[in-house]
Amino acid sequence: MAEVEKNKSEEHQFEEEEPRIGVYACHCGSNIASVLPPAEVAKYAEGLPGVVVAKDHHYMCSEPGQRMIQEDIKKYNLNRVVVSACTVAMHEPTFRSCISDVGLNPFMFEMANIREHDSWVHSHEKEAALLKAKELTAAAVNKVSYARPLDMFKVPVTKRALIIGGGIAGISAALDLADMKIETYLVEKTPSIGGRMAQLDKTFPTMDCSICIEAPKMVDVGKNPYIHLLTYAEVREVDGYIGNFKVKVEQKPRYVDADSCTGCGLCVDVCPITVPNEFEDGMGPRKAIYVPMDQAVPVIHTIDMDACIKCYKCVEACGDLSAIDFAQEPEIIELDVGAIIVATGYDTWDPTPLEEYGFGEFENMMTMMEIERLHCAGGPTVGEFIRPSDGKIPASLALIQCVGSRDKRYNEYCSGFCCMYTIKNALLLKWLYPEMDITIFYIDLRTPGKTYEEFYERAREAGVHFIKGRPSEVLEDPVTKNLIVHAENATLGTHVALEVEMVGLATAAIPSAGAADLGRVLTVANDGHGWFLESHPKLKPLDTPTEGIYLAGSAQGPKDIPQCVSQGSGAAGRASRVLMADEWEIDPIVAYVWPDRCLNAKGGKCTICYDVCPYGAVINKPGSGEPSRIIPAKCHGCGTCVAECPANAITQHHFTDGQVIAQIHSLLADNPEGKVLAFTCRWCSGMGADNAGTAHFEYPANTRIIMVMCAGRVDPDFVMEAFRLGAGAVLVSGCHPQDCHYISGRQHAGDRMERVAKQLTRLGISPERFRVESVSATEGAKWARIMKEMSGTLDELTIDKIKEENALAHPKLARRLNRLRQVPGVAPVLRLSEEMRLQGLEGGGA
């Protein structure tokens, strides 16, 4: 394990110095300023304890904006900075480096999100939005007052890469990394690399033979000394962190010895078993012992044990090579790598559920991938384009676009490349069979891409018919097996009933099978459709939120070949930044055990922190008298152990109990009964709330958000304290449990909050005042709905009823204070808050 520099705050208490805080409110052009005046936020902030200077600026993130902060730090000797602007996902790194450039520790900084969480969602409640901005800023000021400087951890880097998926994106990434002399493992789940591109006949718009241009690259991968090819293998476990991943790959048994097999194919000739060939989309046959295609890399045969009848004819045919080995077992290969590239590609959607088209029912109803294989010279018919019902070359063909794409019932996104491949197939068939009558039914034709529009023109020139109108239904003539495509010709506004001899469906591209499982193994989120979620759609399209894991190709969303190649190279570049470095800096926002508070230090046998940690980051020796300890480099900083610790012996840097309680007190200082306080994780729910902002889904402005790293960090004390202060309603929201960024943090939060809910009910708090939810990063609408519902709850219950309940529960809730005060760092927060409250009362009285 890496020797990691310890943080100052652990070694010795950070020298207390009076906070000198600078607060900066951003206009974000008119994004914030059109709803609420940032100058007033700044003016308000000037009066907050510890604030030395408060200003507003048109664009805080701009060079002049940043310079203003830097100059103020020097001029006013600031030791902490708060920026009230947009989401942390956008500019936290910007401002951290801004202040660290002038010598301030980057963790002496907080952001208040008055854009996504405020101006963008409360444009109809301008006054309430301003009040919210002030309170969010006050909460950030209060939190930063208790901030401590933290140093980045430095970890060593294993100079090896793992690429998952051997399609054209993975191949491109592997070759680029190999060029940089970085040792690379390329794991592919099928017996050969090549991916979807290998299945295609020609590529648009150049009409190159697809396999002819891909095969040389496949061969290069096969013989490159820096690339270790693991085909017919799948990634099962990933542990560790950037620079230091430990990966377990399962090598599935081929029942053929990879070193002895020469790929001669004598075994195939004698194998008596024939099954449908997946590579031909099930159309052509293959044997039980097979290579998927002639150009396979590696050319090692594989026995499909589900089909094999163990006649051992292959063993005989193999003779002295003795490559066949029925005793092979699955094998786990352990790899140490520094970076991972996910390039798992896409599958095509099975159109059976779209019953109106009769796929699977009508013989001559094909998917476009089947059409592709049918006219491919290497395909099951050796390039003769014949229809299944009678083996004749169809005289007419209809191609239907957007089958299962742009369709909210199935996949609501546009799959992007279908227009182009449909046009390609039409044009290609026109070349092969000029007499064939080809009609393309479309909703919109989308041909953005260099020379793509010209390609579409060529198809029109070649006589392909285009009808704007998504077919409503396809019927079959039971005698001729011809298909009748019904549609409205939307251009003319007339009904079309076009009889054709064959139909091809341009089906949606969907995430490849297993993408969701792999997402869990990697703890990388998949979006609502199952595609891997990039760190930022514009600026970090190749990164995942987990550092050291990158995306390439269609794993992130449907892409055509040039895009996949570019992304493969791009991801290789992103990975090489890490792999070329000797060491890498990682976030210090980790958990820390106060040794003297740990029960085990007093001879206890507590294992809770160890049990809840999904990363094995806790050294736990119950009964030994030794306190538990957390290995910082293994800790991902979810904070679940912090919230679970029965002795309050664990804290999380940058999210200490004191800091969160400070935020709670700021946000509930005024009119607590009329407020909904939400605790969110930083990833799914936090980004979901941001998403509501980006999409401008309005919700009531009496809502306040406190963001922690994971719902797992939300301590029951936080919820109880919020209710003690009189909160109208409290929400704890994390990822969907299966998508939790910290594997099991959300799960533990759910279990814990269930207990809290019961306690609250016993205290007489109406159950609808406390909710636990899951909101993904793409569920902005859901976030807005929950906020609306919870705010509605307050109206329904009425403030009086809430106050009544609070009054009843207060004595019991107040009893918890004594215990809370003993948590390191909490007492001063409570003291200050009490002082301010009293001052406020006096002020109010005067």
Binding site: K408, E473, E488
Partner: protein, 222 residues
Amino acid sequence: MDNTLNPFLLEVMEKPGGDKVQQCIQCATCSGSCPVIEEMEYGPRRIMYLIQSGAEEQVLSSRDMWYCVSCYSCTSRCPREIPIAELMASLRELAVEKGYAEDKESQFGQAFTETYQHHGRLFEPELMLRYYLRSWDIKGLLGMVPLALPMLLKDKLPFWPERIENPAVMTAMRQDEEPGEAHSSKKRSSWWGWLIGALLALGGALVGALLWLVELSLEEEL
């Protein structure tokens, strides 16, 4: 954001089935699926577009929603999940509300409502009477007459209405429309409806019988 949308669109969006109108991308699946597309002026696809562009008069004075047979084919196939059939019903309501409704089907709807409000259940002879009195659909009436005798012979036309205990509850429940219409039917004495209904049924049967016989004899002659 809302004030950039036209008032008619906003009005439609408030109605059941209307909230997703903006989702329409003119894919034409609805019009391709519609069994009565030939009877329509625009068809559901273009109706969507007209709503999006705020063409109130064109939409509400068209006959399209009155020809909708509520088969739900468009709804079930719409890739944007727009409940088009439901929307068509809402357009009928809007057309009545705003005084555009002229189609015979709108008269039928009114007659239907009045009849079930009258008895709590439907009473076909009265429904017919109310409809033909409203619409003066003589051609339709003549077309119906030959069906009346066979119906009577097969006991398919009741002479007496089935009533619920207190038909007033039918109008007491909120209708979301001008109450005048509903109340006027309540005020009417309840016996004449049945009587005239029964008379009409009888009369219809007689005329039907006559016409039927004439027709039969004609057919025989031919």
